[in-house]
């Protein structure tokens, strides 16, 4: 996995270096972009669920593979009742995300969900992006914006 990502990264950097003369979309130097992305992602923790609004209330639409949410046992179709002591029965997606963002300092989340009419308490922790994930994002950006034609690999 690591080997593959670093190979993609190297290819991307080479491609950026060779083709940067031909109208790259991002005017900044590749290193600047790299630095910026890493800075924005550093310490950023994520939960890994997609939430859908079901008036009233929220429902989990999808769970990202290999994420804290999946490890905590959340599944698509679970209804969200409460998070960190706040009721979600009348909440919007925005409220849910706000609460998750507020919990980033400690990283602790505890939720009450309802699956098939049964309430369950789920405890989980937000996790930072892994190095592989960050590298993948950087590589995607470099590929797309610092090469003349997308998809030259």
């Amino acid at each position: 996995m690591t080997h593959r990502i670093s190979r993609i990264f190297i290819v991307a950097v080479i491609a950026a270096a060779t083709l940067s003369a031909e109208e790259p979309k991002c005017s900044a130097a590749a290193r600047e972009c790299d630095h910026q992305i890493r800075q924005m992602l550093r310490g950023r923790r994520f939960l890994g669920v997609t939430v859908e609004e079901r008036a009233p209330g929220l429902m989990i639409k999808a769970v990202v593979a290999n994420s804290p949410a999946e490890r905590a046992g959340l599944r698509a179709g679970d209804r969200l009742i409460a998070i960190n002591g706040k009721s979600l029965t009348q909440a919007s997606t925005r409220d849910f995300k706000q609460t998750v963002a507020e919990a980033r300092d400690t990283g602790r989340l505890w939720m009450i969900i309802s699956r098939g009419g049964v309430y369950a308490k789920v405890e989980t922790r937000l996790e930072p992006y892994t190095k592989e994930q960050i590298a993948r994002i950087v590589a995607a950006h470099l590929l797309e914006s610092h090469t003349a034609k997308a998809g030259v690999q």
Binding site: E32, I37, M40, L41, F46, V64, A101, I137, E144, S145
Partner: protein, 519 residues
């Protein structure tokens, strides 16, 4: 107390002469000074109060301006950020899934956004990123912010300086204060608004106003708004400052009053002195009149008795004649002085006069009298002195007065008088020297004042009305000349009359007034 004051004032006016009463002269001035002082103090206090009011208003206004502007910028920043996130969400809804191109468009629309990243909820590994950090970078300061959409999270980095520049209009608008010019104080009501980094909140007293800092709300809490309000009223420097000016004016009035008081006091003193001198004159004159009169009466009574030898009779007749001469001399002096002081119409009659001849004839006339007093007269006359346009009688009288003085104020040791006539390029000079008792330095300045007589231990025995020298001076000055005195106590005095030299060829000066035949 007021009655007392009035009676005192009335007394002061009624008194006229006499010793000036210090209190009655200075009292009115003291009252004026006190009133002026009170006025100055009052205006000073008032202006201080006004200034205090002005500063208070300026202080409040500075705070108000800073606060209002800060809140306004806060609102504008919030509105700008909300607008940005709304735009993105609208775009996202239209496009379905966000794309890099969409994100780029969005970043390009808001030039204060330096870089942006979209993190979808469903796939942490497929993020979008757009950034042009070096192109837009203005300061080193970068702030991050994020908002949530229905499908993910948008995080962006922005430059607060650029953001503030984008909402600059909000800061530029002057705070809502009407410039009311009805007040006597002028505060510059337009505050100087500036943005400061890392503000220290609070009010600060400046030399000429106030500055107030109010910090912005999050996310730009590291910035603040500084409002500076200048108070022109306080700021006037030096004497231009109105409150100092009222003080100056009062002080000037005080000084003028002081000068007035001094002048009044001096005038009063002078008048009192003249009055006392006049009193002395009366004493002198009565004494002067009584002595010859009693001599004459005595002589006349003796003559009337008869039975006198021829020689005795002749002596008595001589004595009577001498005393009459003296009397008439005295009376002439008094009259002349009075006349000249009152600017009488009797003018001097200028005719060509030979100075040598004048001196000689005068001495010839009075020689016997001078010798009878035991004096010798020596003449030193410059033969080259030409005829001058003089009033013969007046100059003779002046010279005679000087000789009379020389005789009167000579001791017993050396009874000699010198009369000198000489000339310089500008003046014809008549000098009378004696070897008498002399005049003290403090008296020299005053001997020409009317009625003044130098004080000696035996003043009263030396007869005179104190008018002789006054007359001399008036005569000389009406000839356009001046008098000089040199004197040493115990050695004698020299009186010098300097007449301006009239050239031989010059036409006689036209007499302003025709001489009167009556004289």
């Amino acid at each position: 107390m007021l009655n007392e004051l009035f009676s005192k004032l009335r007394q002061a006016f009624r008194r006229g002469g006499g010793r000036p009463d210090f209190v009655s002269v200075l009292l009115p001035f003291l009252i004026i000074v006190a009133a002026l002082g009170a006025l100055a103090w009052r205006s000073y206090v008032l202006s201080v109060k006004m200034e205090h009011g002005a500063t208070t208003i300026a202080e409040q206004y500075a705070g108000y301006a800073a606060e209002i502007t800060a809140r306004r910028i806060d609102a504008a920043v919030r509105a700008e950020m909300t607008l940005a996130s709304d735009e993105w969400q609208q775009m996202e809804r239209q496009l379905g899934n966000p794309t890099t191109a969409g994100l780029r468009d969005w970043v390009a629309k808001h030039e204060w956004i330096v870089a942006a990243m979209y993190l979808p909820d469903y796939d942490a590994e497929n993020s979008l990123f757009v950034g042009e950090p070096s192109a837009n970078a203005k300061g080193q300061l970068r702030l991050d912010r994020e908002f949530y959409t229905s499908t993910g999270t948008v995080g962006y980095t922005y430059d607060p300086h650029l953001l503030l520049a984008a909402v600059n209009d909000a800061a530029r608008r002057p705070p809502l204060v009407q410039n009311e010019s009805s007040a006597p104080l002028t505060i510059q009501q337009q505050a100087d608004i500036s943005l400061v980094y890392k503000p220290v909140e609070g009010v600060e007293k400046l030399d000429d106003g106030f500055s107030f800092v109010s910090s912005l709300a999050a996310p730009l809490s590291s910035f603040g708004v500084r409002a500076v309000v200048r108070t022109v009223y306080v700021g006037g420097k030096g004497w231009q400052n109105q409150r100092v000016m009222s003080l100056w004016v009062s002080l000037l009035a005080l000084v003028l009053t002081g000068i007035g008081a001094l002048l009044a006091f001096r005038g009063m003193k002078k008048e009192a002195e003249t009055m006392s001198l006049r009193g002395a004159l009366i004493a002198n004159v009565s004494h002067e009149l009584r002595t010859p009169l009693s001599m004459i009466r005595l002589g006349a009574e003796t003559l009337k008795l008869g039975r006198l030898k021829e020689k005795e009779r002749k002596d008595i007749e001589d004595q009577i004649l001498r005393e009459v001469l003296l009397l008439s001399h005295l009376v002439e002096n008094v009259l002349d002085v009075a006349r000249m002081q009152n600017h009488s119409e009797r003018a001097l009659a200028f005719t060509p006069v030979g100075p040598r001849e004048l001196v000689r004839s005068l001495i010839a006339t009075y020689e016997s009298w001078i010798e009878s007093r035991g004096f010798t007269v020596s003449l030193d006359l410059d033969e080259t002195v030409a005829e001058q346009m003089w009033d013969r009688d007046a100059v003779s009288r002046a010279l005679l007065n000087l000789i009379d003085n020389a005789i009167k104020y000579s001791g017993e040791e050396k009874k000699a008088i010198e009369v000198v006539l000489r000339q310089t390029s500008e003046h014809v000079i008549l000098e009378v020297k004696d070897h008498g008792i002399g005049i003290g330095a403090e008296d020299v300045a005053r001997i020409f004042d009317p009625y003044y007589r130098a004080q000696f231990s035996d003043t009263i025995t030396r007869r005179g009305a104190g008018l002789g020298l006054t007359l001399v001076q008036q005569i000389v000055s009406s000839h356009g000349g001046r008098t000089e005195v040199e004197s040493t106590i115990g050695e004698g005095s020299t009186f010098r009359l300097l007449f301006p030299r009239t050239s031989e060829m010059a036409a006689p000066l036209p007499a302003i007034h025709q001489p009167r035949e009556a004289f």
